[in-house]
């Protein structure tokens, strides 16, 4: 083999590489505009009823906007703390045009400059806070700019099994309103054999019993938006965690863990099988009960508070956002606008049974007349959203850790919550 052959082959090889690279880059470019002039790529994580609901929304949108074509892609768990795919797509400069996104994370992503601000477009089209529940709007805003259009919301209440109440001599029409009454009811309802629960009255942290709900119910608060002060160790929050810890110790934390580990979701939810008499859950829990236990005789009531009034809850929910660097932002905005409009909201909420972020839509769908749903709707105007901050995920995980540590006797509630305050404050300070 002589040099000239080598040179030729080297040149050939380099050419091949150039060709491959060129092919890659042109692929990328055409990827954005593939399938015509106005395609909007939409990543979402919806399956089941909400999956159907979003298909209807897209269908009607495409009918009304025949020039825009929505290309919906299912991305597992997007928004549920697993946004790696979206993250790398944005970092790589090739994101979808629209992403279905948990409002909870909007502030953190906006602070990273990974979402397109929508303030101007919203102003032009007359979309403002007045259209939506306050907390929902606040969650998609960060430092005065709008970064998403809210689409769904929820709230959390105490579910209780009326038959169990009657069985142990409690008034099924008079559910507990104070913490004390809740404890008494839980004690009466619990049937324990050895370290196994035949039935347990209540577990504060089961289901949607996250610490945010308890802190607010006890009168505490977590974050001051004005001063940016983190207040996980608010004395009222400490009281709440002390109560949770005592509750856990009374029934045996490991025995409770043994109980909850043996349970599943859906048809195997212990509330469905009658193994737990009271639980905290969101309105999304109602759909599961309708499906798996249509005859279950249950009621819902606000989460008890120490005083028996000032009931609190918190709401999360979803939004649609435009990731930074999206190709077709105009088309994307049209879709966002439609999804967040009364029409889009009605289509989505009717099929998915998720609450709309627009009060009038919830009313027109009759949620406020349904004996169960009305309880959830009525509390919505007073609902809290989790703190709108860049370290929302850290705060959430740190609080969950504090509850775990305290109930397992690893540090006192006060110490653990002080640590959360310190940890989150430090992270915010960076």
């Amino acid at each position: 083999m002589n040099n000239s052959i080598f040179h030729k082959s080297m040149v050939g090889f380099c050419l091949a590489i150039v060709l491959v690279l060129a092919a890659c880059s042109s692929d990328e470019e055409s990827g954005g505009d593939a399938g015509g002039e106005n395609t909007v790529q939409f990543w979402h994580s919806m399956t089941d009823t909400s999956g159907e609901a979003v298909e209807y929304v897209i269908e009607v949108f495409e009918e009304e906007n025949p020039d825009i074509n929505i290309e919906a892609t299912y991305v597992a768990n997007q928004g549920e703390g697993q946004n790696e795919k979206l993250l790398t797509a944005i970092a790589g400069g090739n994101p979808p045009d629209v992403a279905y996104f948990d409002r909870f994370e909007v502030a953190a992503w906006a602070a990273q400059g990974s979402l397109e601000p929508l303030t101007e477009m919203a102003e032009e089209d007359g979309i403002s806070q007045d259209n939506y529940y306050d907390f929902a709007w606040e969650e998609v805003s960060y430092e005065g700019d709008l970064y998403g259009i809210p689409t769904t919301t929820d709230s959390r209440l105490l579910f209780y099994n009326k038959d169990h109440f009657e069985e142990v001599g409690l008034d099924p029409e008079n559910p507990p309103t104070t913490i004390e009454e809740l404890e008494e009811a839980a004690e009466k309802l619990t049937i324990k054999e050895g370290n196994r629960f035949e039935r347990i009255g209540f577990i504060p942290w089961f289901g949607q019993g996250w610490f945010y709900g308890w802190g607010w119910s006890f009168g505490g608060d977590f974050y001051d938006v004005e001063t940016g002060e983190v207040t996980a160790d608010d004395p009222k929050n400490v009281e709440a965690l002390e109560w949770i810890t005592e509750f856990g110790q009374k029934y045996g934390v490991e025995d409770i863990a043994g109980f909850t580990d043996s349970q599943g979701s859906g048809a195997m939810d212990p509330f469905v099988s009658g193994q737990i008499s009271m639980k905290i859950d969101g309105n999304f829990g109602v759909a599961a009960l309708e499906k798996f236990a249509p005859d279950l005789n249950y009621g819902v009531t606000p989460i008890p508070t120490p005083t028996g009034d000032n009931f609190k809850t918190w709401s999360g929910g979803w939004s649609v956002v435009i990731p930074k660097g999206a190709n077709n932002q105009e088309g994307a905005w049209e879709f966002l606008k439609f999804f967040g409009s009364e029409e889009g909201q009605r289509i989505f909420s009717e099929t998915s049974r998720d609450f709309s972020v627009i009060e009038s839509v919830n009313q027109s769908l009759g949620y406020d007349e349904d004996p169960i749903f009305s309880e959830f709707i009525n509390i919505l105007p007073d609902s809290n959203s989790r703190p709108v901050m860049t370290e929302g995920s850290l705060y959430w995980n740190a609080l969950a850790d504090a509850v775990e540590a305290s109930t397992r006797g690893n540090g006192t509630p006060k110490e653990n919550l002080e640590e959360v305050t310190q940890q989150v404050t430090e992270a915010l300070g960076e």
Partner: protein
């Protein structure tokens, strides 16, 4: 994050190929050799060496994937030293490694010896013990969550039958790590195959000589089998230690990334991953990765140095 395994192969292949070609051909064709190796070399540099070395730089910054961040010098490392969860994850990881690695060697060697006996249908037994290795980690996690379920799990059911009340395996701070070690030991097929190969390499004459000397079965194991198996044990010790320090998939799927109960299953790489992809702290995570890298390097160096004392190669 990936420090072991995948990288070894290309490294070996490349270093073997090039010198061989150099020897046998004239100088122009060594370039041809490079040409053929270039897909490897380019891939290695672009997708492995470059990210690897840039992560050194990133570990000194507040890089968040989406924004380049600022240079903070040793800030990330200093902050790690006062991070409670960082130390807890180190404790959990070392706990796991200290119990898992020796146990996997003892059980692996014992299993290999049993599977090396001349019994009818041995191929079937070998297959049975290798099968769990083929189960994907996520499926493995789900399977064991059912087996160890305190309410209706098979393990506690069996313990009940002999009058023992089993613990709440994965729900208890005390038992969660032992449970994980148990689960990991179940998928031990890979090292067993290597031990089997090592056993096959031991010359039959040595056993015959031992028989002539009147050695018992136990004496043969400790004076012939084990010493001659040490090179293979050495290999599995190094690989096992590296793997144990990188424990991730099993605990992550089992606890949905939460490390419950009470962070007793939060392993080092899990916390690293959360920092990198959940809290937008890729710089912090890079610092963690380099600490892990250095720890694994040191540990491997120690094992290598000590190997002169206890590893016996045949014919030496």
């Amino acid at each position: 994050m990936k420090i072991k395994g995948d990288s070894d192969q290309p490294l070996i292949q490349e270093s073997m190929e090039v010198p061989i070609r150099k020897k046998s051909k004239i100088s122009g064709s060594s370039a041809t050799g490079w040409l053929f190796a270039s897909p490897w070399v380019i891939g290695l540099i672009l997708f492995y060496a470059f990210p690897l070395f840039s992560s050194i730089y990133f570990s000194f910054t507040t890089y968040s994937i989406l924004s380049p961040g600022e240079f903070v010098g040793l800030g990330n490392y200093r902050q790690l030293m006062s991070d409670g969860l960082f130390w807890k994850s180190i404790y959990n990881t070392i706990y796991f490694a200290i119990f898992f690695v020796p146990l996997s060697i003892i059980i692996g060697v014992a299993l290999a010896m049993m599977l090396n006996m001349r019994v009818k249908g041995m191929a079937v037994y070998r297959t049975i013990f290798f099968l769990p290795t083929l189960v994907p980690h996520v499926a493995l996690a789900v399977l064991w969550m059912w087996l160890l379920n305190p309410g209706f799990g098979l393990v506690n059911g069996a313990l009940d039958a002999i009058g023992i009340t089993g613990p709440n395996w994965l729900g208890s701070v005390t038992w969660s790590k032992p449970s994980l070690i148990l689960m990991s030991l179940w998928a031990i097929g890979q090292p067993v195959i290597i031990y089997l190969a090592g056993l096959g390499d031991i010359p039959q004459e040595l056993y015959e000589a031992a028989d002539v000397d009147g050695a018992s079965w136990l004496q043969k194991i400790f004076t012939v089998t084990l010493p001659l198996l040490t090179p293979v044990i050495f290999f599995n010790l190094v690989m096992g230690a590296i793997g144990a320090f990188q424990q991730f998939t099993l605990p992550y799927t089992m606890t949905q990334g939460q490390g419950t109960p009470d962070n007793s299953l939060t392993f080092y790489v899990m916390y690293l991953y959360d920092n990198a992809f959940k809290y937008f702290k890729m710089g912090y995570a890079s610092a963690m990765a380099w600490i892990l890298f250095i720890v694994i390097m040191l540990l491997t160096a120690v094992i290598f140095l000590s190997s002169k004392r206890w590893v016996h190669y045949q014919g030496k």
